[in-house]
Amino acid sequence: MEYETHDYDVLVVGAGGAGLRAAIEASAGGVKVGLLCKSLLGKAHTVMAEGGIAAALANVDDRDNWKVHFSDTMRGGQYVNNWRMAELHAKEAPDRVRELEAWGAVFDRTTDGRILQRNFGGHRYPRLAHVGDRTGLEMIRTLQDHGVHRGMDVHMEFTVVSLLKDGGRIAGVFGYERERGRFKVFRASAVILATGGLGRAYRITSNSWEGTGDGHSLAYHSGAELIDMEFIQFHPTGMIWPPSVQGILVTEGVRGEGGILVNKEGRRFMFDDIPEPYRNQTADNEDEGWRYTQGDKSARRPPELLTRDHVARCINREVREGRGSPHGGVFLDIAWIRKRMQNSEEHIRRKLPSMYHQFKQLADIDITKEAMEVGPTTHYVMGGVRVDADSQMSNVPGLFAAGECAAGINGANRLGGNSLSDLLVFGKRAGEYAAQYAREHPRPAFDLAQADEAAHLAVQPFEPGRSENPYTIQHELQGAMQELVGIVRQENEMVTALEVVEKLSTRAATAAVHGHREYNPGWHTALDLRHLLTVSEAIARCAIERRESRGGHFREDYPEKVSEFGKVNMVVRKTATGSMELQRVPLAEMPPELKQVIEENK
């Protein structure tokens, strides 16, 4: 078949923070850049990020520096992070934030006119550059408005169906544009995957329809390795009531500004379980915790600002043991600060405007006056494409990954705020090295039969005689992952989950789509199933293999951390026969100077 074909040196798949930053950098590298967006430009999931960008600018607390940020990130990730990525991230994040300001971003200010930073879970000092609670919007808009003047071509509402290869190296992508349903081929010397996460594999999630693990799955099927897929972040505070808003994120910024978690007995249960590595840094009484949130440098942080994995599990425990709120969560209360400050209502509205708006409009709750009901929601995947720390290239030559779909920086658990900085730091790096790769390698050739095969598979759902509803299959998969590979896991349930995935894969092969190819969401849902099923299998396999509890991975049958598992990453790859192979791969040895940094910041 013949396809409309575009040629680029660097092709970026995904236009959230990482994709935009990569495209900007690749353009600056003097090569021809194409940017593919699954939705309209500026609507990617980055827009949902609320709290801020973690960077050791030291504007609010001058004790902060890259070493503290690095140590916090490694501790938060329970030391299975890629230490080199954590190091680069901590060192480069401040420059990436300042660069955004130079491109027009307008952050909240300190009293001396610099970029203001706020407290967040697991960060020792106030570190998150922010704009109220809509930092992601500020970031994506700044990158978008800067980027479109940098010469890149933007292709909106385009979905990649498969990656194309030239022998072992990447050669481009095949996909379809939604408006007319037409297939297109993009030939490119280097491809950067910046497709974000996979929250749609679960029923309760903060992710939009786009988060179906496309980059993870595309990379896997083209021979790239994935690591750490067992580590899923369940954000402790998602909305739980009314049902239609279940899963929508409530920013950690609420707790950063002094919000507290209480059970139905009115008890601040977070004080009841403070993990050993954090005991020295955590307040042991309410007054000290409050003083910390108000900038008292001698105070330690309140237990609500422990890492997300821990807070989510504590909430889960309260609910299971019958101390939850009426709709199966706990209470998040910011209104209580009226006891501590005048004008608290105005203060809350100014610091958390979009949370105020969200609860007022969607839940009839005025957060300046009453507590919110919250519970864990699937938010983020620490796992993803295994990449070289410096260049972000995968084991497939010419295939790069950045942002949430790449793995390494976060280890077993990501700290809030480290995602936006990850997007900037590693988006830039991926763009830079992809441009370099493209300059050093000729445009690849490829056999169009690859595209023909992908096209053939893609249109199968329109064939007569099929009956499976793709929405139903997606719904059943989400239910199985939620119940069987969720926040608390055990082996027999996860084995069941693998069986469900296998059965649903068989059914997905006969998914039926009605209507024509133009802007057909049913067709899109059918095509996304392959990605969702692939990543679900990877999550379950890795989670079964890691027989311990660490970070975002909690095993009821192995509730303790096991040192042996602290030395390995789980790696999955596709074998020649098409099955999924899993291997434990030892972590690289950390250089002594970084070990010392960690020691000094214990």
Partner: protein, 245 residues
């Protein structure tokens, strides 16, 4: 379970309304109903959405004739004893069902001169701005680009002056740049000329539909109009320009 009827536009310009029944659960929004219809009755019903929390501005539509975000329109704010009509935005060419071609907006934005930072204030290459200096532009920067203001603007909607007028969204965008404490660019001539600020007769419809509650007319458009008037129509300044060349 309670049910409601949704009268949804199907097809493009030659399309028609189609009635669907959906189950109503507490707290439900119009977008939930559309999703339910997609999953159970009309798998190919086209709509845009992303965040489902009023933050991305994708699911713009006209609900009972009013431009709104589907994800922020609660069913308990609508009369459910009669069908809820859901139609695409009218100021843009239809693509299919609830999806319209909003590409014009992206073209317009690219025509506006981008941000140009003044020289840094500090030796380390950074700037100093006080919070009170940035409050004003932060209001404009809340915009989620849902284009509902463009949809309701009669200059675009009724008179279709798209080629000559950039619309309220891009007047807000221009205001955010012009009032940015660090910006060094000048966009007043463009505003008066190609961007057609004179077409706006400040009826304030855009402000009323803005889901982010940006005071578009008073805070963005009127100050820009004043700047244009000051520059180009102030008789003293005109005289001054004649003599100063």
């Amino acid at each position: 379970m309670a049910q409601a009827t949704f009268r949804v536009w199907r097809g493009a310009s030659g399309g028609q309304f189609h009635d669907y029944t959906a189950d109503v659960v507490p707290g439900m929004v119009v977008l939930d109903a559309i999703h339910q219809i997609q999953a159970t009755q009309a798998g190919d019903l086209a709509c845009r959405w992303n965040c489902k929390a009023g933050k991305c501005g994708s699911c713009s539509a006209e609900i009972n004739g009013k431009p709104r975000l589907m994800c922020m329109t609660r069913l308990n704010d609508l009369p459910l004893d009669e069908p809820v009509t859901v139609e695409p935005m009218k100021a843009f060419p239809p693509i299919r069902d609830l999806v319209t071609d909003v590409s014009w907006n992206y073209t317009v934005k690219k025509k506006i001169k981008p941000f140009k930072a003044r020289k840094p204030d500090a030796p380390d290459g950074t700037w100093r701005m006080s919070q009170s200096d940035v409050d004003r532009v932060q209001e404009f920067r809340k915009c989620i680009e849902c284009f509902l203001c463009q949809d309701v603007c009669h200059v675009l909607r009724e008179h279709a002056l798209h080629p000559e007028f950039i619309g309220p969204r891009f007047l807000v965008y221009t205001a955010a740049l012009e009032m940015h404490p660090l910006d060094d660019e000048d966009r007043l001539a463009d505003l008066k000329g190609d961007h057609g600020i004179g077409y706006c007769n400040i009826t304030g419809c855009c402000t009323k539909v803005c889901p982010e509650e940006i005071t578009i007319t008073e805070n963005a458009i009127i100050p820009l109009k004043e700047r244009v008037v000051d520059r180009f129509y102030d008789p003293v300044k005109r005289l001054f320009r004649v003599f100063s060349g």
